[in-house]
């Protein structure tokens, strides 16, 4: 009986973990970039145009998703630590300073994977449910 309870307990825990992980935001890169993990600060630096290279010195180009997308809002809130209007204001400053261009923008997770898989410099964020073997996860939303 105890074993059944333990089994049910561990099953419940597993299900809970699966539920918690499903749909989390992950940052993905091209395997050829040679990056296996980034910290939150490093991801922020890349997506806020403060870093133009990976920590290993290879060039990096962030890929953004559409303004209205839920995944973008979640990425900005949980990873960049800003809401969408704060991020927009930040990019407005950079854009009209003429010092940088807006990141390339694509419409969904599949497009992000397509771009990242075909470009060693590209880095993007997707819902973990959309993951494929074409890209590597370098940061996972805790």
């Amino acid at each position: 009986m105890k074993q059944i309870i333990r089994l049910a307990g561990s099953l419940g825990l597993s299900l809970f973990c699966l539920t918690a992980q499903a749909g989390s935001v992950v940052v993905v890169a091209n395997p050829a970039a040679g990056i296996t993990m980034l910290t939150r600060d490093q991801v922020s630096q890349i997506f806020l145009a403060k870093a133009r290279v990976y920590p290993n010195g290879k060039p990096v180009a962030p890929i953004n998703q559409l303004d209205e997308g839920d995944i973008r809002r979640r990425f900005e809130t949980s990873v960049l630590g800003k809401d969408s209007t704060q991020v927009r204001a930040y990019w407005t400053r950079l854009l009209f300073s003429g010092r940088t261009s807006l990141p390339k923008m694509v419409e969904d997770d599949k497009k992000v994977i397509d771009v990242v898989a075909s470009d060693p410099t590209a880095i993007g964020y997707i819902d973990s449910d959309s993951l494929t073997r074409d890209v590597v996860v370098v940061f996972r939303e805790p």
Partner: protein
């Protein structure tokens, strides 16, 4: 050299706009962005300067009045950027505003960006002067929480033609950059109705920020500056001399025939003593320094910035200004409060002029002329030697990720430039509403 450079700039402008408007596939390579600021405002009292002792005075704010007006700060810009190769791009920005130019579009920025390495960037052409934290996007209302940054600290929006180099890098939890620039400028400023020429302008800017949301900025800048103010043209000065002589003769209450006889020699003596070495038309070095600190955490934001200018000009001597602002975000609204202050100290020679004793009735025309000249000169110096405080409360409401509505209430207070001054003192209230959009 200058003509050649200007021709080069003109050709560059034609290139970027030509590429942008070319009906070919090149047009797809141009990144277009724009911004619009529609600002309406009204002052509680019409601005008034009244030299009558005890009279109520009301400071001005740009050209607002107690009738609702939209032209003072409504503006818009259109920016085109085209990439020539992976390391090189050309950026042009057209800008139009109601204040001073009645929405006539002008080419505000035009520069080539060259990125030789991932850490280095060169910009060559007509670029913004990096005086302030918000210099790079001063006209883009969407980029900040106010309707406009405090005028006490941000009196000018300037550009230079030259070159700047920026090196940027990151550490584990922070990022930093250093920018150095050199160039010159020759622009007309509506706000002071003057043509200002700057040569040998050099500057350095240091920026740093960390992952906790703290940003720091420091700037040093030096330029050789000459100013030709409309109000200091020979015709304006002659008119002032004649007016000052008439006032003096009127106060002396001399018989008409004596006043008529004395007047020409008095005018000549005043003109001779007035001179032109104080008008700022001769180039003099000016040094600027700026510090800014900003912190954002969660829903809160606090920021301070101060700037100082120092030169040996009769009209503009030492000036310091600063602001402190804080805000809290509640859902889509950002409520904020700002205190700003500016203090311009009079030049020693202007102080001596102000202290000059009134000539006695038996004074010679030369002595009287010297006195009148000193009062005319120092009168102009007092116009720039002001002390003012602005206090603003406001709210920014983000309608969408591209549009913000704002409402600012600003109290403007001007103080006497010297203890005995009774003119230019008072307070006024300015209410403004704005829509800021980017596209």
């Amino acid at each position: 050299m200058k003509t050649g450079f200007n021709r080069g700039m003109a050709a560059l402008g034609l290139t970027v706009w030509g590429v942008a408007f070319a009906p070919t596939t090149f047009a797809a390579d141009v990144q277009w962005n724009g911004f619009l600021n529609v600002v309406g405002g009204v002052l509680q009292h019409d601005p008034r300067v009244d030299f009558t002792p005890g009279a109520k005075q009301y400071p001005a704010y740009r050209d607002y009045s107690n009738d609702l007006s939209f032209d003072s700060q409504t503006s818009g810009g259109l920016q085109a950027k085209t990439t020539l190769d992976p390391q090189t791009s050309v950026t042009a920005q057209l800008y139009a505003e109601g204040y001073g130019s009645e929405y006539a579009a002008k080419l505000k920025w035009l520069f080539v960006t060259y990125t030789p390495t991932y850490n280095s960037t060169f910009r060559v052409g007509k670029i913004g002067s990096p005086f302030y934290y918000y210099s790079d996007f001063l006209n883009v209302g969407y980029a900040y929480h106010w309707i406009s940054p405090p005028d006490t600290v941000y009196p000018f929006d300037t550009t230079i033609t030259g070159v700047d180099y920026t090196y940027q890098d990151v550490g584990e939890h922070f990022d930093w950059s250093v920018e150095v620039l050199a160039g010159s400028s020759d622009e007309y400023y509506s706000s002071i109705q003057s043509q200002v020429t700057n040569h040998n302008s050099i500057g350095v800017v240091f920026n740093a920020s960390n992952a906790s949301g703290v940003s720091f900025r420091a700037m040093l800048y030096q330029t050789d500056s000459a100013m030709h103010a409309d109000v200091l043209s020979p015709e304006s000065l002659d008119a002032n001399v004649n007016s000052a002589v008439d006032i003096l003769l009127d106060r002396l209450n001399l018989p008409e025939n004596i006043a008529t006889a004395v007047r020409p020699s008095l005018v000549t003596a005043t003109q001779a003593h007035l001179g032109t070495d104080w008008t700022g038309a001769d180039s003099t070095p000016i040094r600027y320094a700026e510090l800014a600190l900003r912190s954002e955490w969660g829903r809160w934001m606090v920021m301070g910035e101060c700037i100082g200018a120092r030169n040996n000009n009769y009209l503009f001597n030492q000036a310091t200004s600063a602001y402190l602002t804080a805000g809290v975000k509640v859902d889509r609204a950002l409520f904020h409060i700002t205190y700003s202050t500016a203090n311009a100290v009079l030049n020693e020679r202007a102080k001596e002029d102000l202290a000059m004793a009134v000539p006695t009735l038996g004074a010679t025309p030369d002595e009287a002329g010297a006195y009148l000249a000193s009062q005319i000169r120092s009168g102009y110096a007092l116009l720039s030697g002001t002390k003012a405080d602005f206090e603003t409360i406001g709210v920014r409401y983000d309608v969408s990720t591209k549009t913000a509505l704002k409402l600012d209430l600003t109290r403007v207070v001007e103080y006497a430039s010297r203890p005995s001054e009774t003119a230019g003192i008072g307070s006024n209230l300015l209410l403004r509403a704005a829509i800021n959009a980017t596209f």
